[in-house]
Point group: D2
Chain length 375, copies 4
Amino acid sequence: MAEQNYDAYREGVAGRADVEDTPELIAYYRSLEKLEAGALWTVANKIEPWQPRSESVPVLWRYRDMREHVLRSVDLVSPEKAGRRVIYLSNPGRREVSAAVGWLYSGLQVMHPGEVASAHAHSSSALRFIMEGTGAYTVVDGHKMTLGRNDFVLTPNGTWHEHGVAEEGTACIWQDGLDIPLVNALEAGFYAVHPDLRQAVTHPVNDSTATWGAPGLRPQNGDWNKRYSPLFKYEWEPTYEALVRHARVTDGSPFDGVLMHYVNPVTGGPVMSTIGASMQLLRPGEQTRAHRHTGSFIYQVAKGSGYSIINGKRLDWTERDIFCVPSWAFHEHANSSSSDDACLFCFNDLPVMQALNLYREEALAENGGHQTVAA
Amino acid sequence: MAEQNYDAYREGVAGRADVEDTPELIAYYRSLEKLEAGALWTVANKIEPWQPRSESVPVLWRYRDMREHVLRSVDLVSPEKAGRRVIYLSNPGRREVSAAVGWLYSGLQVMHPGEVASAHAHSSSALRFIMEGTGAYTVVDGHKMTLGRNDFVLTPNGTWHEHGVAEEGTACIWQDGLDIPLVNALEAGFYAVHPDLRQAVTHPVNDSTATWGAPGLRPQNGDWNKRYSPLFKYEWEPTYEALVRHARVTDGSPFDGVLMHYVNPVTGGPVMSTIGASMQLLRPGEQTRAHRHTGSFIYQVAKGSGYSIINGKRLDWTERDIFCVPSWAFHEHANSSSSDDACLFCFNDLPVMQALNLYREEALAENGGHQTVAA
Amino acid sequence: MAEQNYDAYREGVAGRADVEDTPELIAYYRSLEKLEAGALWTVANKIEPWQPRSESVPVLWRYRDMREHVLRSVDLVSPEKAGRRVIYLSNPGRREVSAAVGWLYSGLQVMHPGEVASAHAHSSSALRFIMEGTGAYTVVDGHKMTLGRNDFVLTPNGTWHEHGVAEEGTACIWQDGLDIPLVNALEAGFYAVHPDLRQAVTHPVNDSTATWGAPGLRPQNGDWNKRYSPLFKYEWEPTYEALVRHARVTDGSPFDGVLMHYVNPVTGGPVMSTIGASMQLLRPGEQTRAHRHTGSFIYQVAKGSGYSIINGKRLDWTERDIFCVPSWAFHEHANSSSSDDACLFCFNDLPVMQALNLYREEALAENGGHQTVAA
Amino acid sequence: MAEQNYDAYREGVAGRADVEDTPELIAYYRSLEKLEAGALWTVANKIEPWQPRSESVPVLWRYRDMREHVLRSVDLVSPEKAGRRVIYLSNPGRREVSAAVGWLYSGLQVMHPGEVASAHAHSSSALRFIMEGTGAYTVVDGHKMTLGRNDFVLTPNGTWHEHGVAEEGTACIWQDGLDIPLVNALEAGFYAVHPDLRQAVTHPVNDSTATWGAPGLRPQNGDWNKRYSPLFKYEWEPTYEALVRHARVTDGSPFDGVLMHYVNPVTGGPVMSTIGASMQLLRPGEQTRAHRHTGSFIYQVAKGSGYSIINGKRLDWTERDIFCVPSWAFHEHANSSSSDDACLFCFNDLPVMQALNLYREEALAENGGHQTVAA
């Protein structure tokens, strides 16, 4: 049997652990293990790296590859047997926790006209981004929302929610985004199936938008003290218009073009406690500069085509493709078109980074702010 | 010469002051006066009333009366001589402090094409509500905003601001709303004339709306930590649409119909620290119930016609009329039209009541919630 | 009968109103008055001064003068007839509103052993600062607090409260501080006498201090969402010790020496929404520099003797004396003793200035930061 | 080679995934894997459990066992070689991440008189709790604090900090508490060694306590907008006194006895963004009832002896022992002494649970709230 190595993480730098294994020390370490203890210096350099080392890798999920597999699931399983009929995105570095990147889960769900998934509630916060089809709807705590392409809808943690497609609709595909891996890791996840498997719609359809979706206005009867946005649906059209209008008066960010965060209108803060979301517009031909920051990011191409370079790896994307940026990975985006703008939807765990005071960012200084693409 | 009376406020109620003047006491009171002091029981019942007694009275300023006087001021004084060419509204109970109601000032300002008022800044918070004309604009800290009918614009305290009308415009009239009387009473008012009398426009025209006026979206580069809304202009069209849309999904308030507060999109709170504003819609034929609350309110009829009953006094209003509701006065509103909705713009000192923990309200319980109109 | 003058406030400065009366204008002004209106330029320079002009004047109330008058009130009126047997401080510039300075009320209350004032509640926020005697107590919403010299106790707005002196105590005198004039001016004052004239003590004596008075600690069961501090009593000893300890590690403020604000331990903010309070220590021989700021301040000398210079007027004070600093008045303080420190208790309307975004301050630049004392 | 199983997590409950492997499905799953994807229903029941399943187990680290090993490390490694000479607590369920429980790290550090560990900074938040010895000190961003037994000191994330023992002191042992595993898992950890390996002491010794450690008082010059408490040291004596005083006026919590949270005096909130701490007192003979909640907790016995029952496992503890409570584990505490009180220091990730809206708790309903101890 091979000897265990205790000095694998030595660094010859003042202030870091640099203790070589000796028989005496090894015996000491083993006696510590019997007490459910260990010597910090054997692991210190491993658990306190100089900077974040993400386990995730940049991945591009092409929609032209994913779509047929997603559609095929309709023939293979029913929503009743599957619970939810979803193909999830599995980052090679995060297979163990079923994450698309970091602690974020994402999947593609398909539903046929007349189908509906059973109502449930969980501690995870969730969102959907509609990719194709007509007639999709979501019900959140009795509020029903009709959904179209590029609409973004919340199903916050603790709410009863269910999804379906109207009889007169077409097959719908949407992206789910959740913090399931995070909530599990934090050992704080609860799950409940609605006692009736369906919830009643108790408010006028789309009342959330009609109540909370007005610019700079708050309803008189709008008391709201929950920890998530009462605006559950953010429609594509006003969002795109807002970006176009904003683009006329701003240079935007050198790293992100013209970017707007979806916010809780009651607080101006993120839409949910653990997940933030944004939509950004890259002007025709725009090529941003590289920066990196803590937090994990999942993008979906809402409009146009182009490419992103992530830690030196170039990913070419077109509408509906999905890709991820791991924590502390340099990234820059480019719109390949010289005539049309491109839009990227994004969800991320920025609210976690900010709430826990762990956000940090850094621009790439060298080479005009652009990475060298790996061969 | 008449003797001074010290026992004018006696009340024969346990727990209240009830001390009769005697020669000995009067002598005592006079000796206190020499020490810059007094006996509380001689004034206690006066300064601690059982409930608020407003000095203001309900007033209706009819636009058909005011308009010609406002227009005439153009011939009488120049903006240069007048500083600002404004006719202010003077509540009979508040003449001493030039207030329209409570501690709120309001005036009607007129400007001809090509005219511009000099740039200045003050501790007072200010707003404008456009009544008629085309080509009006306001500049706030280098942000220029073009203004149309029923648009609502902020000039928050401490900002450099100026108003004008474009050469190609028409004569414009707008309502000014300020907290001048409050700031004066609090002995906290500063005033400055801009060194150049004009400020440069340093941002794209209407950039404030293009940056902050999107529903549920916050610009990436939008750091803002000032104590007022960065959205300086709230346009009429999206506001009216928001009310109509909201009216489809809500019964509204029994006291106010469908009411939405203008808010600071960064915080969800009031647009300025001392002045709040709202727009409300009364459905055809709608007649609200009476309630009363602390705080002073000034209304302008943005659309339609109807009447309000304020402490038993009926005021019939039509578009552009202005009226006020004093603190703790019962008030109810009615839309006289059976076919068209009516809209009331309002500004008020609700943020003061709330910040100082002094807000209180009460519904009228008797008579189905409706006041008897005084003969 | 004398003609009314409309051009009394003219200023020959660009950007200010400068309109001379003419017969035509006077006729115009009179027609406006009939419409409950006026021309802004006739009052603009009055209501928008260049900087605050306080109506209050600096006053020193010497305790050696006041004390005998306060004690004499015991013989003249009973607490039952007087409601509260208090001699209030009346600023010559604020007699109309019974204020000691600005919108702040203050009075000296005396109570004999066994006496108790009836329980009541009001919209005004109140505090007491104990000047002499033993056995005083206050009950706030069922919490009874025993009080000693230099203790500071809150009776926040809306709470039931009553004051008394134990049978075994001695005659007690304390200073009351309230925002009665402000709440009245804001037309938001309500007053209620307790139905039983006495309230039951429903918590252990001094439980507020035992629950909330620990440095850096919050009780597990301490949910508190009221708008005022749950710590109702701030005792003199730990306050003085804190100042002495803090003085060892800080130079303090050049304007205030070593000053600590009493705070709400739940929020770190002011003790009540409208009234702040502080205690400051001036080292032996310390002479601060002059500054001025918005807000009104009432001081009581808790320890030692010295003088303050307020807008050029020197006030010499000793223990128990009370004096006031009006808004925007330059002020500086000096400890006359070369061996003992001096302590000033202060309450003020700083929370109002801050909540309404009206706080501003300025140091005196000339003459080494010291005022010239008026002859 | 064994076939992979995809249906290991099936549950025969409506609303849950219940899909049996078939050759067709297995082929489908494999084609998904090639796309870096998977079928949600193969993992859904695993990653969305009905309630939290902690990987950690309850552990008691007896000081009489640990102490000699800790002291022996002095002979085995120098602080220079070790970086920090610490024996860390390793939960059998969390060895991979070097955590004592959940995502919390803890270790016992020993230092001899005259020793000092090099100054460093990291994204992790850290605390120390002094166990024995005299002369220990910590320097945080230039603020030096002297430390005694049961003192609790913060070294918040991002601060330069170093620890040492004065020449005239004795060997000191303290407990370190950090969120290293969490920060690593969130891929947000940065580490820096101070360029000089030592930082200068730039403030008077213990100035943090003298500035911020006064009950209900905030220093005038105390601007503080960092995300952690400016009070870096919480001394044992005032903490214990506060508990004893509070115990006189409260029954305390049925689950925790008399418990007080250490708080940031500026906000009333937790001392750091990711770690909270508390001290609780169990009266002689007190036996609390069981409850469970999300979040991981590490206790150190500051005084007395007794036992805790955690998920049915009884742990008998005495002064200086350390034990942990995993997330969602039922736990109850008992003081074995009939004459002396017992005190438990605790640090935990409650601020994370609360910031991310994941806190939930539940009392044990059956058996009078007491668990059955496993044989």
